[in-house]
Every structure is written in structure tokens, then in C-alpha cells.
């Protein structure tokens, strides 16, 4: 994923050569990391809309979020920015705004009444100093639980609602011994994603925003946090020996094949179910575990627009911003991407059962939770990731782990 990091610079330069001599034409060079299959089909929705609007889309796809991000940022800093660049919804463009490198799109947002149709957390994540600097284009739920219906039925279990339900089912599956109870991909980011799912599901909204948002050191040392840590570590009992290093999609396939009961993964996992010809709510189920106080962790993607000197480029940027959020584009994009639309006023009948479920979560203000990326800068997320991964993979105790997290939160200042 983050293989060859410096792609960054990369695209930076590639664009120079191809910049238009004719300033009247509306051209948009867009850096993104959607390269394969469904991802590419999704970004094509934007490209087609832009072409229809009379523009020329210049595609700079670089696989790997870190690659693409750094390509775009390096170019922007060295004075040769792309027209638009993809980022994750969150803190990733803080420094770009501070450095006055991004164009604000507040006018377009007001014109389209974005604030009226988007979740508040998403609006907040795209706003700096009172102005919108990013176009949120989708919402990815990060803490979905995917399960194989037949496997759960075989032990007489229904869809779990809380982590306690889930643990009971996992116990049954383990006692039965026919399948691996929990499909898991033991890579750092997924270890963190699983931890996050437990933190929100067991600790609730207060724990979530307290640790990631307020960086509350005392909370990290509390008994409640340790309870989260204990539940998380308990999940290791339900994971198979081959989990470390596994790719997330291979874990998903274990659920698809009925080799495993369930998996915690973002809604991009749906792409694997679709590719294998499975039907939601028939072959597999999807749900979000919560203790009742907030539960749906919303991540997603945004596009930002580096400041341009050329008015034609600015025009292209504003056109892009506008068309990315039209209801039609939104629904077409979400269909291909597996995410859900960022607007709550689109006709969702075309979406599958799981996406509709996601729309219902998002519609409920109490359920909306901002993702870790929205609450904390990458350096802190990374440091937490190391701590979580160490805890999961070694014999570290919950007490030691809580002390470690407290130290990480403290040093983040």
C-alpha cells in the first residue's frame, strides 16, 4: 500500500510537461490513488461528468494513498500543483491551509447548501478557519462487522448488536471448532482498525473523542480504557495462526468461503463480496457493533484544490467541486466505490442493503462519529498504531498498554 513512498514527488513533476498552453481550455489534472477495478470505475464517474461539462480530465493515478498524497503535496509545495488532489477526510491538509496553499470553496458550498445536507462531522472536517477547503465526496464506514449468514445460522446465532453478543457468538463458533471464528488480517493498520472498532463499540462516544480528540491522558489510564484493551486482546483467541501479515481481502474471502464466521472491516470489503457473486442480507450480513452511544465511524475521501494563478484553472476547480456533489454524480460514484453518498438527500434505492443500512446510521446524529483521521494528525495516529500493534502481538499487559498510550498522548503536544 505504502510501498514506494516517494511517488509523491512523482506526479509532481509529471504534470509540468503536459500543462496547457491554451489557458482558455478547462483542464483538470487530478491526483488520486484509485487505480484498480471498482476504484477506477468510480473515479471515471467524475471524469465523465467533467468532460460533459466541457473540461479535459488529466488522470494522474498513483497507487497507494501515501504515494499519491505525497506526490500531490510535494508538487504543491514546490509551486507546481495539480488542479485537484485526493486526501482522506481529516487533518491531512491542516498544514496546507496554514501555508495558504489551498483555494477555499466556500462559495460553491454555500451555493449548493452543503451544510444542509451533510453530516456535521464531515462539514467540520472539511472546514478550516470558518471556510470550507475540501469537497467531501463519500463516506466510508470503518467499523463494519461482516458475517457469513450460513455460518452464524449453523450455531443458531442471530446478527450481533453489541460486542458482548459478538463475543458470545465467537465463543460458540470456537466451541464448535469447524470454522475460524474471527477472520483477521494482521497488519498494523487493521490491528488499529479492529482496536478502534472495540474502542467505539465498548467505550462509546466519550471514550472515542476523549482519547483521539481531546488526547485525555487520564482517560487512557482509566479502568474503562483498560476494559477496552482487555476485550480487544481477548479477540486474539478467536483468530487463526495464519493471521499475521495477511491482506484484508484474504480475510474477507475466508468469510465469503465460510471458512471464518465474521470480520471487522471498512465497507470497501463489500467489493470482495460482490466480486465473489454474494448477495447482502442473503449470503452475508453487515452491522455495526455499538453500546448505544454513537457507533458509526465515518471516514472518507475529500478533494482539495491548490491555489492557482491561472483563472482557467480556478474555473476548472470550481466546476469540479460543483459537479462532484450533484446528487446524480454522488449516487453513481457510491455505487461503484462501495461507499455511501455524502449527501443525505439523494435517492438511495439503487444502493445495496448494506449501503442503505449505512445511510440510516449516518442519518442518525447520535451514531455519527468522526474517524481517527479527522480527530488526530497522522503522526499521532501512527504512534498509536505502533502501540496497539505491539500490544496485540506481544504478551504486553493491559496496564502496560494503557501506560504506553498515555505516554503517546502526552508526547503528542
Amino acid at each position: 500500500m505504502k510501498r514506494i513512498l516517494f511517488a509523491a514527488v512523482a506526479v509532481a513533476t509529471t504534470a509540468l510537461a503536459s500543462l496547457p498552453a491554451n489557458a482558455q481550455e478547462m483542464k483538470a489534472e487530478v491526483i488520486h490513488w484509485w487505480t484498480s477495478g471498482g476504484e477506477a470505475a468510480a473515479v471515471k464517474v467524475f471524469a465523465d461528468q467533467f468532460t460533459k461539462a466541457g473540461g479535459t480530465w488529466i488522470d494522474s493515478a498513483v497507487a497507494g494513498a501515501a504515494n499519491a498524497r505525497n506526490a500531490a503535496i510535494t508538487r504543491t509545495v514546490s509551486g507546481n500543483p495539480p488542479t485537484a488532489m485526493q486526501l482522506n477526510t481529516g487533518k491531512q491538509f491542516d498544514e496546507l491551509v496554514e501555508g495558504d496553499l489551498l483555494a477555499d470553496i466556500d462559495a460553491i458550498a454555500t451555493e449548493g447548501n452543503w451544510k444542509g445536507v451533510m453530516p456535521a462531522a464531515i462539514i467540520a472536517a472539511a472546514t478550516r478557519k470558518g471556510k470550507m477547503y475540501a469537497v467531501p465526496i463519500n463516506i466510508h464506514g470503518q467499523n463494519w462487522l461482516w458475517y457469513n449468514k450460513a455460518v452464524l445460522a449453523s450455531v443458531g446465532a442471530d446478527e450481533p448488536k453489541t460486542w458482548n453478543d459478538a463475543l458470545a457468538i465467537l465463543d460458540k463458533l470456537k466451541a464448535e471448532g469447524k470454522v475460524i471464528p474471527l477472520a483477521f488480517s494482521g497488519q498494523k493498520n487493521w490491528e488499529q482498525n479492529l482496536f478502534n472498532a472495540v474502542m467505539i463499540g465498548v467505550g462509546g462516544a466519550q471514550m472515542w473523542t476523549g482519547i483521539l480528540g481531546k488526547r485525555d491522558v487520564a482517560l487512557a489510564q482509566s479502568a474503562e480504557f483498560k476494559a477496552v484493551a482487555v476485550t480487544y486482546k481477548k479477540l486474539k483467541d478467536y483468530v487463526d495462526a495464519g493471521a499475521p501479515g495477511r491482506n484484508w481481502n484474504d480475510a474477507t474471502n475466508m468469510v465469503i468461503q465460510g471458512k471464518a464466521g465474521m470480520q471487522i472491516m471498512g465497507d470497501w470489503a463489500k467489493g470482495e463480496f460482490v466480486a465473489a457473486g454474494k448477495v447482502p442480507e442473503k449470503d452475508y450480513g453487515c452491522t455495526v457493533l455499538s453500546n448505544g452511544s454513537g457507533g458509526y465511524v465515518m471516514g472518507g475521501d475529500v478533494f482539495v484544490f491548490p491555489k492557482a494563478k491561472d483563472p482557467a484553472t480556478t474555473k476548472a476547480q470550481m466546476t469540479l467541486a460543483r459537479l462532484m456533489l450533484t446528487p446524480e454524480t454522488q449516487i453513481q460514484f457510491a455505487l461503484r466505490k462501495g461507499s455511501i453518498p455524502v449527501r443525505n438527500d439523494v435517492d438511495t434505492s439503487a444502493l445495496d442493503a448494506c449501503a442503505q443500512k449505512g445511510m440510516r446510521y449516518v442519518a442518525d446524529k447520535a451514531q455519527q462519529m468522526p474517524s481517527g483521521d479527522m480527530l488526530a494528525p497522522p503522526a499521532l495516529i501512527g504512534a498509536l498504531q505502533d502501540a496497539i500493534s505491539q500490544y496485540w502481538n506481544t504478551s504486553m499487559s493491559a496496564d502496560e498498554f494503557s501506560a504506553k498510550v498515555a505516554a503517546v498522548l502526552k508526547s503528542a503536544e
Binding site: F6, T35, S36, G37, V62, A63, A275
Partner: protein, 294 residues
Amino acid sequence: MSATALSSGRPRRISPARWGLYAFILITALYFLLPLYVMIVTSLKPMAEIRQGNLLALPASPSLAAWVKAWTSACTGLTCEGIRIGFFNSLRILVPSVVISILVGSLTGYALSLWRVRGANILFGAMMVVAFIPYQVFIYPLVRVFSFTGLGQSLATIVTIHTIFGLPTMTLLFRNYFTSLPVELFKAARIDGAGFYQIYARIMMPMATPMIVVAVILQTTGIWNDFILGLVFAGRDNLPMTVQLNNIVNSTQGERAYNVDMAATLLTALLPLVVYFGSGRWFVRGIAAGAVKG
């Protein structure tokens, strides 16, 4: 001198030792071939079969579909033309980069080994240190240097970059080789009045064939498999094949098609493989040339 004549002096026996030798070769060959086997069978299976997880099983119904897709229609962003679009770009980067980096590296190695130059050891030492640094660390400042000087991205730029990053290793290779040659040869040429470049071109390089073969292997591999430098410095029209490979293999949240991944990797590795297999004859010839020096 032919290869046969060359090794005619070696002792040769048909004995248990010989069996041991072949057993050793067989076992090591298996270790080397196992991953290749997995890649090939995986590339011939449909995804449904790969999901079963029988890694070493032969494909139930082998199909070249993944290969065709990888070459002609796999998506790497909005363009769905497979990895073939980068092949000729990679070739155009590879040939001049290999030739020039070997020329510059061998010349530097030659100057540093046989000619007593003040500060030669310091220069060589500094280059050795540089050889150890992950070159990704240099890219950020280098991009800024290039954007300052106004040098755009082009074939010339990427060739220069490959020459720069190949320099320490190439210098090391040739310096060590030239140092191991009998110094009398060099002295005799000096006494005969041959100049710096004459000795390099007429005596040293012809004797360096074995090292040139090794250098070609090293550089071909490094340059062909390079992704990041090509992406940054080659410019939009010259993006190498590995950029497409990366886009196919390293998708972030898209579904994974391992058969296409494997086929794409094997296709990308094809050229260095051909060079290796093809260099066999040159290898022997080069080695024969090296043996003359005795």
C-alpha cells in the same frame, strides 16, 4: 579461447562426489524455483480457485486470461490498457541509462584505482558512504533542486538520475576489479607512452568483460525495477512499466486479482530474465577474456 579450452585444466572425475554435486544443485535449484512456481500456477488460475487457498496445487483448468488482461486491459487508473503501455518507455530509459552509468562508473573506478590522485581515497570513501543511504531520502531535496534549476522531466533527466544513483556501486565494482589486475600491465602501457584514455579504452575495458557482465546485470535489474525515480523524474510521456505494475498491484481499497498481479509481475520481469538467460554466452566469453590476463 573457448570456454572448453579454458577449463580443460580442471580436475574432472565421475564419482560419488559428482552425485553429491548434482544433489546440491538440485536442492538449491528447488529453493530458488519454488516462488516462481507459485507465481506461475497462480497466474494461470481463476480467482475462485485462488480463494480456495491451495497454493501449490496445479491449476484445474489453466487459463491465460490473467496474462492477457495484465498485458492488454488491466486498469491502472482511468486507462485500462494493461502494463504494455510502459514497456517501450522502460526500454528507452533502460538502454542509455545502463550504457552511460557503466561508462561513467568504470571510468571513475579506473581513475581511482590505477592513478594516484590526491584525495582519491576521500572521494571513494564518500561514495561508499553514499552507497549505503536509502536513496529515497534524497528524492525530496533533489526534486527541489531540479525545480529550482528549471530542468524539466525528460528522458535525459531520468538517465542522468540513474547514472547518479548507479555511480557509487559501479565505481566500487570496477575499482575493485581493476585493483585486482596485475599492475605490471598498466606500468608497461605507461612506459610505452599510452595516455589515460588510451589505457582505459584499449587495455582495461577489454579486460573487464566479466565485470561488465555483472554490472549489466546489476544495472538492468535496478533500473528496470525502479519505480520511484521514473515516476518523479521521467516525465509524463516516459513513465516506466513499473508505474503501471504498481498501480495494478497496490490498489488501496479495490478488490485484489492475484492472478493478474502475478502475470503482470512476470511480464514486467521478462526483460531482465531474457537479459540474464541471453547473457549466458557473453558470460562465458567475458570470463574467457578475463582469463587471458593470467
